[in-house]
Structure formats: C-alpha cells, structure tokens
Symmetry: C2
Subunit: 378 residues, 2 copies
C-alpha cells in the first residue's frame, strides 16, 4: 500500500502540469536511496518509478515478487532484466519526442547519463531542487496512520531508556559494544522490527564526535566524563531517534558548561515550538543559547521522522547566502509534522553532549512523545 | 590511513592528465554513498574530496575531528560550515576559469547542480562512467593487508555457520528474527565490529524473494521446504558475505530441482574460476546451467568484497546491447581479486535457494575461503 494520500498525489501531478513535465522519474537503489519511491508506490526498495501528469504510475522493480506483494501502482514491469534496460520502458510511456523529464535532485547522476544516451532529445527539468523540495514538503506532514506508527516507534524507544539507565548505573565495566548490543536486543523484544540505524555509543573519549566511528567500540562506556548514546527503533518502516546524554562522576568546569549549554539549548528549542512558527526559528532559539556560551553547533538542530530516519522537514538555520536563500522553502510548524530536537555541544578533549527527543503535532498540540533526559551517574 | 596504494593513486592522476581533468570531485553523504572517498582518503564517511592532477588531496569533512583521526590527505578543511559552502573551496583550488571537473557517475545530481551554479563556466567531464570504471578497476584488486582483513571477516563468518546449523537442527520453533539475532550476537562475539549488512533470513514462504522484506520476520524458520540465510561480518571495515541454503523435510520434485540446479550452477562457476579468465565467463558458466534447467537468474552471479559489501569487480553477464557494450570494461581474474559466487534459483510458491561463498586470488591460487554448503534438515 502506498503511504501518500490522494490529495498529495494530486499536488504532484498539478505541479507537473504547471511545469510542463512529461514524466517524473524516481530511482531508488543501493548507495543512492530515494524514499519517495516507497512513499509514492509502497514498494519498499530497489527500483524505478515513472509517474505521468495524468497520475499513472509504472514501477520497474528489481524484485518483481516483492513489488507484487507491496506496491500500489498501475503497472509493474515484470521483465526480470528491466534494471539494465529501463530506458526502453521510459521511451514507451513518453508521447513526445523531446520530452521533459523531472527528477529529484538527490538522484544518482548515472541515471541522467543513461536517460540522455537513450533519448538524446530529452530535457531534464531544470530545477530538480524544486522537485526535491516539493517531495519534502509532502513528506513533512503525516497521516494519522503514519503518526500511530511513529508514536509506537517512539514508545518502544522509551522502554529502552530504562535499560540504558540500568546499564549505565549497574554495569561499570560494560563496553560501548555491550550497550549497543543490549539496545538491539531490547528493541526487538519490545516489538520493533529493527534498530532504525546502528546505535552510536560514545564514551568520554569519543563523545566529541558528531557520529562516532566505529558506531560502538570495545571501550569501557562509563569512564568519568561525558558520554552519550543515540539510537532508534523501526516500527512498520517508521523510525524513532533518541539521544541520551550521560555524565559519569565529577565533571570539570568545562564539561559542566558543555552539559548545561546543551540542556539549555534543548529547553529553548522545545519552548519555541508552536503551530505556525517557522522551523528555522526553533533552530535559531537553540543556536542562540549555544553561541552565546561560546560554542558552535556543527549540525542541524533536528530533522523529520518518517519512512527514513532523516525525513522532512529539516529543523535548521535559515541560509545566510543569497544564492542558498533562493532555494530555501520556509516551512512552518503544522498539524502532522514529526521531527527531532537534538542540540549538541562538542569539544575535543572534554567530550560532547546531545539531548534528543521526538516531537509530533497532533490534534493541534505539540507532543514531545519520547522521554529522554540527561542521566547522571555518580 | 588511506587504503589506496601510491601506484593506484598515480593511475588516477595520470588519467586526469590525459583527459585534461582539472579536478576530481568526490561526494559521500547519507543516501548517496561513495566508498571511493574512504578509499582515497581514509576518512570513513560524510564529506567531499578534491583531488588535483598533481595528486594534492583536500578533504571537506562533515566531522572535522573524525577526519583528523582517520584521514591521510594534504589538507583538511576545518570550517564547520563547509558542508553548505563547499563550492568556495572548489573555487579556491581551481586555477582555470573554465575548469573541467571529473565526477563519479554514481554521484548525487544535487552536487552537480550546486557546482554549476557556483561556477557557471565549469564543464563536467563528459564520461563520468569512465571515472566510475577506473575506480572500480582500482578497487577490484586488494593489497595483502586488505586481503588479511577480508580473510578474517570470512573466518568469523565460517564460525557462525556452525551456530546456524545448530539453530536449524535444534530450534524447530525458532523464528527468522531469532536466527537473525543469533547471528548478530555470535558475529560480534567472534570479533567482528558488526554485521556487514542486516541478515536476510527467509523461510519457505519468503525464500523466492531475492532480498526479502523485512529482512527477517516473526515467521517460523524451519517450515518444510526451501529456506536461506544471507549474512556477513565486518572486520576493520572489510566485509564478508555468505548465504546458506537450507532445506527442511521432504521436498517436492520442483523444490528438489530448484535446489539441485542452484548447487550445480555453483559448482560450474567455481570450476570456471582461473587466473586470466574474464569474469563474465564465470557468470556464463552458472547461467548456462540455470537456463538449461528452465530457470532465469534475476541477479548477477557475484560481486567484489572490500570496504563495501558490493565492491568491484562485478561477476555478471556481458551486456548484450551494443550501447551497453561500449561502456563495458572486461576484467579478468587476477591476483588480489576478492569476490562472491552466489547463484540463485527462485520460484514463487516453491521457494528459492542461493549458495554463496567468498573467493580470493592469493599467491597465484584461487581460494574459496568461506565454507558455506547446502544444509539438509530432516
């Protein structure tokens, strides 16, 4: 079943009519994922999707049987070699000899090259970023059914919080890998199909990294200082994303400042959320706190949650350059939006702290539906 | 430390000189990964890499601290906002006003759009597929150090084979998820940093799917008929990839034929491997067996293993269309190559079988260094 609503589908075809786009071409393959394929078709992964301005959908899947089980489209191409000769199916659908094909800006360049080779007279719609932004806007609000899945993914995450606390307090010799593994185990026990991403587990020596590498190691987790774990659950394909900042033992003045700044930025951001508020203003509220304290946040404040863990909408700063402002689409908080708030402060040598919870706008209310809070262990 | 050798680096810069490419531009970001960034720089993920024809490397990382710990490059850009204004660093490196920039065909189209906006006079080198093929060729042979990591990843996988056999025989009520979880646990116990991908575990009802979705479910695994598990270990960033075909109980004649055809195709492929043999001929040997039996294999026979689980070289059919033949680079089996052999036969209703092992060419010998074999459970 496809997650997109009829109304949103109509927005896409109206956009195509207006921009004189003859065909929309989506590609989702390993190393170059486009969740819009699943959003528009229900097909989980690996394939091409063609959409005409009349709303006709043609799926060219890698795995035909998988498509038959999951996709809601008008046509499934069942040719088992369609992956390598997809261009012929594009040709068949097109009526014009010099068609305009719309693509998402995130598409792998290889497909553009292949299309141009097969159809030398085609033109790629000249503003693929606009296509990307349209999809992001449509994905930025969720249906009640999607909200229910997201809430469930959040609730599973909440249950794991207790296991993390217990581990931090009662397993002083435990490693990052031990905690990562515990979370993986518990998350499935509580009904998730999987982690929504590999947990990032960083002790004081690694917590200054935004995304530590490897994601977890054989280091003792509870060394004195600032640590964190960033994890999430996947439920029916929908993701939660939670970070717990943890401090072990007595902190230095610098560590204390990092910690307090992070939490103050979090509070400021949560306070700034309200229906109708531009998302960048929420980011600004957190960034103001962090910069006033003399730090710099090296990543965005938050991101949407949905069929991908980094979904629309982004909760980031407004661009400063005029060039980037041209492509900037200001989204405001509205019913059905779901996003993370996750300010972080990182200092090499001292460590980092990030506090992250998931927020949804449901029945006119702002609901912080995950329950992470700073954890202090003696 | 960067995995690429000096000799291979020199091949890239010689290519740039010959093709008059002023700058090579690589991008590795979520949803659009390019392992060549890590291959050329040692930086694990998330960033841009610029390479000049003189061999100068400039890394624009998302996480500066991560880069400092892992990268071997001439310059690391430490501007924390470099992700959003990377174009200025490209401009700074270029001497020409109308430069030619080389990209990998796999790059996300968004970066091409951004570069063209920032540098309207630039030209993208008109054969990005050639760039991609050059990288693939260079990554298709491994150094002795890389071979040692790959072998270790394979050995960890071999240990897990015994656990899979035990589970299949002794846990009749176990689910796909139970087995997936067991593998995840054991793989870490045996020293892997992680699975190299989420295990695909399919009972008879799902084994006809090439890549089942979800990867594992709460279905009983040992239902009578054809099942399989496809899994791998990650060691120091290097992947193994193994599939065990399992049959439970008495098979139907059709199931028996699927099984025998898959194994015969595997034997034919292994027999065809020899130094100097074009890789497509190994694929042809397996495909001949499968097609003679009246089946069609809906995926390639095998793929390289390395820093990514689907690395170079591909072990696939030679293209049949003249257009695709133009881009086709025939690689032959040579010292240092590492690839999977994984023929599969799939029939909806009856199920599927795939047998997969990892092969390396080391000291002039063909070594099948993983030990999967068909498993039969009464």
């Amino acid at each position: 079943m496809r997650p997109i609503t009829e109304e949103k589908m109509a927005e896409i075809t109206a956009f195509m009519e207006e921009k004189k786009i003859d065909l929309l071409f989506l590609a989702d393959w390993e190393n170059s994922r486009d969740v819009n394929l699943r959003f528009l078709s229900g097909h989980p992964m690996d394939g091409f999707l063609l959409l005409t301005p009349g709303g006709e959908t043609i799926l060219i899947p890698w795995d035909v049987e998988l498509a038959k089980e999951h996709a809601t489209v008008d046509t499934i191409i069942t040719d088992p070699d369609s992956r390598t000769n997809f261009e012929q199916y594009v040709k068949e659908v097109l009526k014009s000899d010099s068609p305009v094909i719309g693509v998402n800006a995130m598409i792998s360049y290889r497909w553009i090259i292949a299309l141009k080779k097969a159809l030398p007279a085609l033109r790629i719609y000249d503003n693929p970023i606009e296509v990307n932004e349209l999809f992001r806007k449509l994905r930025s609000t969720k249906t009640p059914k999607e909200l229910a899945f997201l809430e469930k993914a959040g609730k599973i995450g909440n249950k794991v919080l207790k296991d993390i606390e217990k581990f931090a307090k009662e397993v002083p010799n435990g490693t990052e890998n031990d905690l990562s593994f515990l979370v993986m185990k518990k998350i499935r026990e509580y009904g998730a199909e999987d982690n929504s991403f590999p947990s990032l587990v960083a002790n004081v020596e690694r917590s200054h990294l935004i995304h530590c590498h490897p994601f977890a190691g054989n280091n003792q987790f509870s060394k004195p200082g600032l640590a964190l774990i960033d994890f999430g659950a996947l439920y029916q394909g929908y993701a939660s994303d939670i970070t717990v900042p943890i401090s072990f033992g007595k902190l230095t003045a610098e560590q204390e400042k990092i910690k307090q700044t992070c939490f103050a930025a979090y509070e400021a951001a949560i306070d700034a959320i309200d229906i109708g508020v531009p998302l960048w203003k929420i980011s600004q509220a957190a960034v103001d706190v962090i910069e006033k304290a003399g730090f710099h946040m090296p990543h965005g404040l938050g991101h949407g949650l949905g069929l991908t863990v980094h979904d629309a909408p982004g909760v980031r700063q407004k661009p400063t350059s005029e060039e980037k402002l041209k492509d900037f689409v200001e989204l405001k908080v509205e019913e059905g939006m779901v996003f993370t708030i996750e300010p972080g402060v990182y200092v090499k040598g001292a460590g980092g702290q990030r506090l992250e919870n998931d927020v949804m706008i449901k029945n006119g209310k702002v609901v912080v539906y995950t329950k992470s809070k700073p954890l202090e262990v003696e």
